[in-house]
């Protein structure tokens, strides 16, 4: 294991008027296998950046240990850990040009001048900024700066590469490009990499594993597919991807939903009784050809065109549900508002409702992650 995070906790000092400070990291443990690219994913304020900084040594945990390639590093200072770190706002040395920035880690290690020259040229080619060696950070665009920051961190061949929301300050397009480049770099060098993000699409797209963090705790660890298809907590289900959150009551093997209390179409309950929360992703809301066994009738209220797919708002059982119809070749959707449809739920997850659910909903709503 390249990185072992073991029972790390950290509480921030109390602000004025507080009795105790915020518990930013709450007994977090996970491991990162050698050569893997892992995402720490979570909403703002979930503690993921703090965890990353603790791994780097920029913050000290209250309890717990960090092991890098088997060495206990918790007590060793930052500059001896051999980690490369990329900051959200680049943190390039403004007074130095690109070449000196990239060479910094090597100069500090007293590499011979020729070796430094060679390595810097290598990296410049890698990040495709060959002609920019003498430019200063103020003369570069955001994307270019981040590439330089990446090259700078990689120059001394760190055993672990850590990135703190590296693309957060960039445009969507640039962000996607750089994320792909990061993945490519990783395929080439296989440096164990951990990056922090709140963008689930980014995490799903480039990482081998995702560690979902919320409120300082690990919610789930798994591959992108596992997390998306088999979320193990309400938070993960609500946070990752789009999802319809439907409250209902389990009764005699069925789940009754909506103010009309109709049985949810196409599923059997595994909970015998009580309040439940049913989570169905828009792409798993199936529109059947006609009234079939175990479908519910509904009416399309709104159709929105999204370029590559259609989003439909369907009223069924007194609820508004989102469905997605992907544009397939040669077939444009001809559904329109007011049309009657028969729907069934495909893949879904069911959780018991409790206060936790309301709190999670409120949290994600206040952060703007769901409506």
């Amino acid at each position: 294991m390249a990185i072992v995070v073991s029972n790390i906790s950290k509480r921030f000092p109390p602000a004025r008027g507080e009795e105790r400070g915020l518990l930013a990291v709450d007994n977090v443990s996970f491991t990162v296998p050698q050569g893997h690219l892992v995402a720490l994913l979570g909403p703002s304020g979930s503690g993921k950046s703090t965890i990353l900084r603790i791994i780097a040594g920029l913050e000290e945990p209250d309890t717990g240990e960090i092991l890098l390639e088997g060495d206990v590093t918790t007590a060793s200072p930052v500059h001896q850990r051999g980690v490369g770190f990329v900051f959200q706002h680049y943190a390039l040395f403004k007074h130095a040009n690109v070449r000196k920035n990239i060479a910094f880690g090597l100069e500090v290690r007293k590499w011979p001048r020729r070796e430094i020259q060679k390595r810097v040229d290598e990296l410049l080619e890698l990040i495709q900024l060959q002609g920019y060696a003498d430019r200063y950070p103020s003369q570069l665009s955001g994307g270019q700066r981040q590439r330089v920051a990446l090259a700078r961190a990689l120059a001394p061949r760190p055993r672990v590469l850590l990135l703190d929301e590296p693309f957060g300050a960039l445009d969507a397009k640039v962000r996607r490009n750089l994320a792909t480049q990061l993945r490519q770099l990783h395929s080439e060098f296989h440096t164990t990499t951990v990056f922090v993000t709140h963008d689930q699409e980014e995490a799903i797209e480039i990482s081998d594993e995702i560690v979902v963090i919320n409120r300082g705790r690990v919610e789930q660890i798994g591959s992108a597919q596992e997390i998306y298809d088999r979320p193990c907590s309400k938070f993960v289900a609500s946070f990752i991807g789009n999802v319809n959150v439907i409250e209902g009551t389990a009764e005699r093997g069925k789940i009754l939903i909506g103010p009309d209390r109709l049985p949810a179409p196409g599923l059997q309950s595994t909970v015998s009784a009580g309040e439940v929360v049913l989570l169905v992703r828009p792409e798993d809301v199936e529109i059947a050809g006609g009234p079939e066994h175990s479908t519910l009738e509904g009416v399309i209220r709104d159709v929105r065109y999204r370029g590559d797919r259609y989003e439909q708002e369907i009223e069924v059982a007194g609820l508004l549900i989102r469905a997605i119809e992907v544009k397939s070749r040669g077939h444009e959707s001809n559904r329109s508002a007011g049309e009657k449809v028969h729907i069934r739920f495909g893949r879904h997850t069911i959780f018991e409702a409790d206060q936790d659910h309301a709190a999670i909903r409120a949290q994600l709503q206040s952060l703007g992650y769901i409506e």
Partner: protein, 304 residues
């Protein structure tokens, strides 16, 4: 008609943006600045400023130059070559260098503490640093006499050790350090705060220890602020009069700085010496001013 001097916020040919355009209610006559009344108002204001500038700044300098050359350049140079004059300038240079070195060192340390650490009473400390600005230099000089005079609280210890502080060079150095204390710190603290910790954190992750981080990252990132602070310190140290007058006793040849020399020459009616020395100081100050402008320009460039 175009104005010869451009005011900030407007082009050379234009008039300032009408205030009313920013959402304030229009004046009685609507947007008037483009009208003749507005332009005349601008011109009068400009005229007042130019006259003020000329009377308070240009005229005295012109008088200084004229006064120096009045008796002939030779006499002026001769006045500067006397041993008294030379010792005065040497003393000024020495004191300035000492003040710069000591204040730079402590100023940087203090700035780092203020910008990076959190502790109770920080605001108070920041306020206290500005104290030398609010205290009259003469009062500062007296403070040092009380403190370091032969019967002073600290002075008695020095006397016992055979070191004379006041009415001697050490006292002058101390007084000069006091009046120039805030400059370096005041320039560095905002620059340090603005730069923030990230660059230093980046340096540490790249393997630099504390010392290397300081020299390779922190200092270069604040070098223009530091340069500006040092320039201010030099300018102030060169021109310090009141505190040094009180503390030094103005002993000719021993504790007389350039400013005290000028004062002495003037009261003795040796005008050539006074004028010549004044002109030297004025020229040096001007060069410092130019240096400060250049530094500020660099700071602006780097900021963008």
């Amino acid at each position: 008609m175009s104005s010869a001097v451009s005011m900030s916020g407007s082009g050379v040919n234009g008039s300032p943006q009408p205030r009313a355009a920013r959402g304030a209610p229009p004046t009685r006559r609507g947007f008037t600045s483009a009208s003749r009344e507005g332009r005349w108002g601008t011109r009068i204001l400009l005229g007042v400023v130019i006259v003020w500038f000329a009377v308070l700044i240009l005229a005295p300098i012109a008088a200084l130059v004229w006064g120096t050359c009045d008796a002939g350049l030779g006499a002026a140079l001769a006045a500067l070559r006397t041993p008294t004059a030379r010792e005065a300038f040497n003393l000024t240079i020495g004191v300035t260098i000492a003040a710069v070195l000591i204040n730079t060192f402590f100023g940087v340390v203090l700035a780092l503490v203020l910008a990076r650490q959190r502790f109770g009473g920080k605001l108070l400390l920041e306020g206290l640093i500005d104290l030398p600005f609010s205290v009259s230099p003469v009062v500062a000089g007296f403070m040092f006499i009380i403190l370091f005079g032969p019967q002073g609280w600290l002075g008695r210890w020095f006397e016992a050790g055979g070191i004379r502080v006041v009415f001697a060079v050490p006292g002058i150095v101390l007084a000069t350090i006091f009046v120039t204390l805030p400059f370096v710190t005041r320039e560095l603290v905002p620059v340090l705060r603005e730069c923030g910790l990230e660059q230093e954190e980046a340096a540490r992750t790249l393997g630099a220890n504390g010392w290397q981080t300081f020299w390779r990252v922190t200092v270069p990132s604040v070098r223009w602020g530091l340069g500006y602070g040092i320039t201010l310190t030099v300018a102030r140290a060169l021109g310090e009069f009141g505190a040094v007058l009180v503390v030094s006793g103005s002993i000719i040849g021993k504790t007389q700085t350039a400013t005290l020399f000028i004062h002495q020459e003037f009261t003795d009616f040796h005008y050539e010496g006074a004028f010549a020395a004044s002109l030297v100081l004025a020229v040096v100050s001007f060069c410092l001013l130019v240096a400060m402008e250049l530094i500020q320009k660099r700071m602006q460039q780097e900021r963008s």
